[in-house]
Symmetry: C2
Subunit: 341 residues, 2 copies
């Protein structure tokens, strides 16, 4: 059986694990928090301050990622692994915490190539280290069969003895700020779903596509925001307006965004919007998956490196509702919802 | 839209979460380890001794459970929720730890009934409390769409300042012991897949079916074994021989099982084996999913309540291999593997 065409159906689970674990473990730095790694019924991870931050997220083929896109691009296992790492690391970042470990569960159709799984493992690891989460070890996982490809990652983090930054702490007068990017993954998605062949794209357009396939959440920014005294924070996974509405609701406030600042954010999307005849502002307001950080800071706080002011927190009108406004007018509830269309 | 026919496609993710979270949280006891529950980007869970035990497991429809069985039984959302809880709680139990929290990710086709999801949540919660894991809180989760139903649970546990019981600690002269049951879930599976209608089954046969659908792992036994000084432990999820081979390999030993003890374990399976003309011993040796505990104890240790001696640990012959033997003869490597058939 040639190695290149070997499928997961031709290996036992333990044979497959033997091929994957060496790609995920034994890195310098990973020993820090991992007290017991793969091979037993469960792993053991250090929780230095007696607490652990915990999140889980699942990505399903053709819902959360595609393997083949309309424009001809094929997402590799590496892309899927990177995206799984990025998305989950971002949830820990959004609390102002640092990731200590993750466990990954991969569900695969039997015809999945072993080389694809190895590429997935490499991408997962590259995402962890490439995004700067060097203290995050892969503590274990689970491989199983299914009709469709799906990846679940559960991730742990440490607050290093500090308090988490919640969604509920924004107060009128605070500055609304953004770290990382917004709208680029959505612009990249539009390119991937367009009829323009990959080969015809410019480097700038390719870069937007890359953000959709391998997001770059600003992992240094979460702990920096916590240390600077951010009053509220969350990651933007479903869109600036939709996620902003959630933060505003949790804080019983209005997030009034600055129209000029939003327009500035749209500039980076012009390579895609001009090609496709799209409105870049709709990507800025409605696009998720860049996993930028939306945070609020008390007025006396100097914004930490990486954050840009994009608006201010206001009290809702006596009879008005919480939510996102742009220059005082309600923003549409754009963004991605998993069920409602 | 009548409530009974409401599908998840007709609700937004947040509307669906609003229906589920009240069923999962606010229980007495759940506050103990849960420092921050659902609603932010991540939960925060106490890790009192500065460590957390961590595992993840995914169950996929028609791979790990069925919704409709050959004999006419229909697994409810409650069954699927219970089984997800049981399977994951067992991994923590197998380390000698107690579960503190879990997060659950549910992937569903759009036509899934909301009532099914509510039933799932009730079953998950009932599994946690019904199995005695009262200190385990549901810390959060994730709902998403997919073509096939799948449940991923990540679970955390505490060792309460003690050392974990690993697979690698068995030593020649130790007693091999079992807590909980073995083979019943396999016997139940054979009944579910048979042509004998549910209505024709006896109470004893139904009880075996119930173990397949709602396993009863012995959660008190794990911490008791740790406190008594067990030298090695794991849960039996893939079969006594297959999992025993793993423990034996990790410990570089042979687990020599007692034929009379195995025959004794088969007695409980007679209601199914006599009906179906099957060999009950094959279920004892090859059946997983009861999630009983396989442990070894130094000879001077009195077995804690719930454990029964079923054999002894021996050194491998100078040129022989590790693994499970029965009265000195190699056992066949029966059991379930996710990929190889």
């Amino acid at each position: 059986m040639p190695e290149a065409s070997l499928t997961v159906a031709e290996l036992s689970e333990s044979q497959l694990l033997e091929r994957i674990f060496p790609r995920l473990t034994g890195r310098p730095g990973s020993a820090g928090h991992l007290l017991l790694g793969p091979g037993d019924d469960a792993a053991i991870v250090a929780a230095p301050d007696g607490r652990t931050v915990l999140s889980i997220d699942t990505q399903v083929v053709d819902q959360d990622f595609r393997l083949e896109w309309n424009n001809g691009y094929r997402s590799s296992g590496y892309d899927v692994g990177w995206k799984a790492a990025a998305q989950n690391l971002s949830d820990i970042n959004a609390m102002g915490a640092r990731a200590t470990s993750l466990v990954v569960s991969l569900t695969m159709p039997p015809e999945t190539l072993v080389s694809w799984v190895e590429d997935f493992a490499d991408g997962l690891m590259a995402g962890i280290t490439g995004l700067g989460a060097d203290a995050c070890a892969v503590a274990g996982g689970d491989l199983g069969r299914g009709r469709e490809l799906a990846v679940s990652v559960a991730i742990l983090g440490t607050l290093e003895g500090r308090e988490p930054v919640l969604r509920s702490g924004a107060r009128p007068g605070d500055t609304v700020a953004l770290a990382g990017t917004v709208g680029r993954a959505a612009a990249g998605l539009a390119l991937l779903e367009s009829d323009v062949p990959v080969a015809d794209l410019t480097a700038g357009q390719r870069a937007l596509m890359d953000i959709q396939c391998r997001p770059q959440p600003p992992l240094a920014a979460g702990p920096l925001a916590r240390e600077a005294g951010a009053s509220a924070m969350m990651d933007i996974s479903d869109g600036l307006v939709r996620d902003g509405n959630r933060l505003a609701a949790a804080s019983h406030t209005v997030l009034n965004l600055d129209a000029a600042a939003l327009k500035e954010l749209a500039v980076a999307l012009l390579p895609a919007s001009e090609l496709l005849g799209a409105d870049p502002l709709s990507w800025v307001l409605g696009g998720g998956e860049d996993h930028g950080l939306l945070a609020t800071f008390p007025p006396e706080v100097q914004l930490p490196p990486g954050f840009t002011a994009i608006g201010s927190v206001e009290a809702p009108a006596p009879t008005g509702s919480t939510g996102v406004t742009i220059a005082g007018s309600p923003a549409d509830a754009l963004g991605w919802d998993h069920f409602a269309d």
